[in-house]
């Protein structure tokens, strides 16, 4: 297992390097002049030149890239062009919020998705299966930001059950923190729930047709025990793979959900960086997201080993 972990971590290094390189040079394709944007209309050419020098964007591109990479390897992601704050500081405030949101969405997706998927598989071809399939299709089709708007309207504005926005000034205690994340997590988790439900249904139907399941049932074992102890574990591998993809999708979806609920997380930070052409902030945002996705995938790889002993042996 340790060798597996070390192997995956080692493989993550070139991946992160590739992501950093790609994003850095793609960001340069933006023809904007941040110095002019920061200083405003009345800035003189000298002031703009001085600002460019201060930002380091008067240097050759490869030199800028080299400087950024050297700093990034040491954990210094640079300074936000517009706020003057250290990007690592800004991101560190926001990472827990977005991870909390993504975790909430993922938890919801796994619990609801797996439950509905198993139920649909057990009732395959019957009305319950059809209803769940239709709901899952809808869940995948409807974008998360639209669900977020509807949730905010009904549960926050109309019913006043939950907050419509992240509490200004931050939540007061863990209770308020969780409360503020309920609606965004639901908005984020719906599509993932639907995808997981469909995958679980498909995998479970395949497993339930296997000989060992039929034998177990023939021996008189209760359905609950056969499903819970044997079938689910064997159907889990493709579902776990899908969950890995969903983590990236949840982090991507957080860009819009965070805006709608005004959550000061990575998503809103990324959107702001994109709209302003704030390259260092954008790079920092992408690197953190990439790092989280890599970590999650390593965790999923390790879970394969737990689910399937053959992986452990090969590992």
């Amino acid at each position: 297992m340790l060798r597996l972990l070390v192997g995956r971590l080692t493989a993550a290094v070139p991946l992160m390097f590739a992501v950093a390189t790609l994003v850095f040079f793609l960001a340069q394709a933006n023809s904007s002049d941040p110095a002019g944007s920061i200083l405003g209309l009345d800035a003189t050419e000298d002031a703009i030149d001085a600002k460019r020098a201060e930002l380091g964007i008067d240097q050759p591109l490869l030199s800028q890239y080299g400087d950024w990479l050297v700093d990034a390897v040491q954990g210094d992601l640079g300074t936000n062009w517009f706020t003057g704050e250290e990007i690592t500081t800004e991101l560190s405030d926001r990472i827990p919020v977005t991870l909390g949101l993504a975790f909430g969405g993922l938890l919801l997706a796994v619990v609801i998705g797996c439950s509905l998927g198993v139920l649909a598989a057990l009732k395959a071809g019957r009305w319950q299966d059809r209803v769940i399939t239709v709901i899952a299709s809808l869940g995948i089709a409807v974008p998360s930001f639209w669900i977020a708007l509807l949730l905010a309207y009904y549960f926050a504005i109309e019913l006043r059950w939950l907050p419509a926005v992240w509490p200004p000034g931050g939540p007061d205690g863990i209770g308020e923190w969780v409360e503020a994340l309920v609606l965004p997590s639901v908005a984020l988790g719906v599509a993932a729930s639907a995808a997981i439900a469909r995958q679980t249904r498909s995998a479970m139907i395949g497993v339930l047709q296997r000989d060992y399941v039929r034998t177990a049932l023939a021996k008189g074992l209760p359905v609950r025990r056969v499903v819970g102890r044997h079938a689910i574990r064997n159907a889990a591998i493709p579902v776990v793979t899908l969950i890995g993809f969903q983590v990236a999708a949840l982090l991507g979806g957080s860009l819009f959900v965070e805006l709608i609920f005004n959550i000061p997380g990575l998503g809103s930070y990324g959107v702001d960086a994109i709209f302003r052409g704030n390259v260092p902030a954008l790079l920092g945002f992408v690197m953190v997201i990439a790092f989280v996705v890599v970590l999650v995938n390593i965790a999923l790889d390790l879970s394969y080993a737990w689910l399937n002993p053959k992986v452990r042996v090969r590992g």
Binding site: N30, S32, D33, G36, S37, I38, L39, G40, L41, D42, A43, T44, A47, A50, K51, F82, T83, G84, E85, E90, D93, L149, A152, A156, I157, R160, P163, A164, V165, P167, P168, G169, G170, L259, I260, F261, N262, P264, S268, Y269, V271, D272, F275, R276, G277
Partner: protein, 562 residues
């Protein structure tokens, strides 16, 4: 010349803000900007008689206490000593974006809401948009190019440093010499500031600046602690004398700023609340939702499309009707696109715009869809004859294009950025219907102004914050005109200059009308209608005042009732 007490003094003139690019560079068409840009200035004179008039009428939609009851209350309390209730509660405000800097010399009007709790301005505006005393108690104009201010002698900054005329002069020098000051236009023509005595100073320009007292009620009039004028970094370290003090430790940069009471403030009546927190809400829905659900007490920059939602939920509205969205055509010599040098093509563009449809879509039908530069709220500068100018007529647009040799259509390039995308896309559809194909060039928020001035685009959607023609008309026309050196609008400058020194208000009005007509008839400025700068607040909030050149209300005097 005119003086003092703003109850009497009515600002006529005002420049403060062309903010045309400022407003254009960020924020949707109905939500104000938080991005780049500048408050421009024209530098022209204004007749003394005009100084007694008011530039615009403010709109307040909400249930008000009947006037008779207010009068009765005033009468009953007239003989009693004024009792100022102690400040209580926290005022939570939703702003459009986050603060970019706490240095008044480094930000534009979009940042007003974040800075005004900390910094005092030399003057202020009241609920009727009149200029009233702030740190300055009186102001006179000894000659057309000079203003003399008398300042309070009981003011001190948060660290105890006293404020006096020398400090005001040092501040003005700092503002005028700050590299990259987005309000540099407001200081155009500055010659010098000089101390007369401990409480009196003069500011001299090389042109008449009748609007200067109004300008001093906005960001350029914010006074900084003199101990920090030596190049100290004020980005996250505001140093003012205002009613509240910024607490960096309790704030989260880019998210929420927290302010606590200044215990030594010179005017306790301004301090209605103990604490203020201001949070950036970039999304229009989130901002109004936060207000309706009681997460904030005030929501600044409310989109017109959200106003009805707020009013239906029982919220109150304060709206300053000075937002002017328009299409600006600067490439009138055809340097970038030869077609735009033909006046018929520019007029065809104007005839292609369905202003009613635009205002229904972008402003939820709340805007004034007239064709002039000033809406009817600006009664003094509203000319009804322009209301139907270039009214939507696609057939006439096609005829003009045909006459100009573009019967088969033409292609123009316009910039688009996320903050203005809905408005620009609507215009593209309208132009497309008459054979004008628009290629959109995607840029970042905050880049529109600089790119227009660097001649990358010859036509664009823009927005101005109107106050008075003496500042607005030259700023609408001349600055962009300078970039392409077309030379066709020089008469605008001459007409405005003549109007600004005229002693006859009717003559001045006529000259301004002629200047406006030149801008409109030449197809330089194409009106898209007129909207309001909106803020909404909860029913339990009292004392909300917003002025020209501001995108947020004053926190001064606001109290939370119950």
């Amino acid at each position: 010349m005119t003086t003092t007490n703003g109850r009497i003094w009515r600002p006529l003139v005002a420049v403060l803000a062309l903010s045309m690019m400022a407003a254009a560079c960020g924020g949707s068409d109905d939500a104000a900007s938080d991005e780049g840009g500048s408050d421009a200035d024209a530098g022209a004179t204004e007749s003394e008689s005009n100084d007694q008039e008011q530039a615009a009428e403010i709109v307040v939609e909400a249930e008000e206490q009947p006037a008779s009851e207010e009068a009765l209350d005033d009468t009953e309390q007239a003989d009693e000593p004024e009792v100022i209730p102690p400040p209580s509660g926290e005022l939570r405000i939703a702003e459009f974006g986050a603060v970019t800097s706490f240095n008044p010399a480094a930000v534009n009007s979009a940042q007003f809401g974040f800075l005004i709790p900390v910094y005092d301005t030399l003057t202020r505006q009241d609920a009727g948009l009149s200029v009233v005393p702030g740190l300055a108690t009186a102001w006179t104009r000894p000659d057309p190019n000079t203003w003399e201010f008398t300042v309070r002698d009981d003011v001190q900054f948060h660290d105890g440093t006293p404020f006096d005329a020398q400090v005001a002069v040092d501040n003005i020098v700092y503002h005028t010499s700050f590299e990259g000051n987005p309000n540099a236009g407001a200081w155009g023509g500055f010659v010098e500031a000089r101390v007369i005595d401990a409480t009196t100073f003069q500011v001299e320009f090389d042109v008449p600046k009748p609007q200067f007292p109004l300008t001093m009620s906005t960001i350029p009039g914010m006074m900084i602690n003199p101990n920090y004028l030596d190049g100290s970094d004020l980005t996250r370290n505001p140093q003012g004398s205002g009613p509240w003090m910024h607490v960096d430790g309790e704030s989260q940069a880019g998210v929420t700023e927290v302010y606590v009471l200044n215990p030594t403030y010179w005017n306790p009546a301004d301090q209605g609340v103990e604490q203020i927190s201001i949070t950036g809400f970039p999304d229009n829905n989130a901002r109004i939702n936060a207000l309706i659900t009681g997460e904030v007490e005030i929501s600044a920059t409310v989109a017109d499309t959200q106003v009805v939602t707020g009013l239906d939920a029982g919220m109150k509205l304060v709206s300053v009707p000075n937002l002017f969205p328009f299409i600006l055509i600067t490439d009138r010599n055809g340097e970038l696109n030869p077609a735009l040098s033909d006046e018929r093509v520019r007029q065809a563009i104007a005839y292609s715009i369905d202003r009613d449809a635009y205002n229904d879509a972008v402003h939820a039908g709340r805007a004034d869809a007239s064709g002039g530069i000033y809406p009817s709220n600006f009664s003094q500068f509203h000319w009804p004859e322009f209301d139907d100018l270039f009214a939507y007529d696609p057939d006439r647009a096609r005829e003009l294009l045909d006459e100009a040799g573009y019967g088969d259509g033409l292609t123009i390039t316009m910039p688009i950025m996320p903050a203005i995308a809905p408005a620009v896309e609507l215009i593209v559809q309208m132009l497309g219907a008459t054979g004008i194909n628009v290629e959109l060039d995607q840029i970042n928020n905050g880049e529109l102004g600089p790119r227009m001035l660097s001649k990358e685009y010859g036509i664009s959607w823009l927005r101005a914050l109107l106050d008075h023609p003496v500042g607005n008309l030259p700023a609408l026309a001349i600055r962009p005109w300078d970039t392409f050196q077309v030379g066709d609008l020089a008469p605008v400058d001459e007409l405005v200059a003549a109007a600004s020194v005229s002693d006859d208000p009717e003559e001045a009005r006529e000259l301004y009308a002629q200047a406006s007509e030149l801008l409109l008839e030449s197809g330089t400025i194409i009106s898209l209608g007129h909207a309001g700068q909106n803020a909404m607040y909860a029913p339990n909030v009292d004392g909300v005042v917003m002025g020209l050149g501001m995108q947020s209300p004053y926190p001064h005097g606001i109290r939370i009732i119950g």
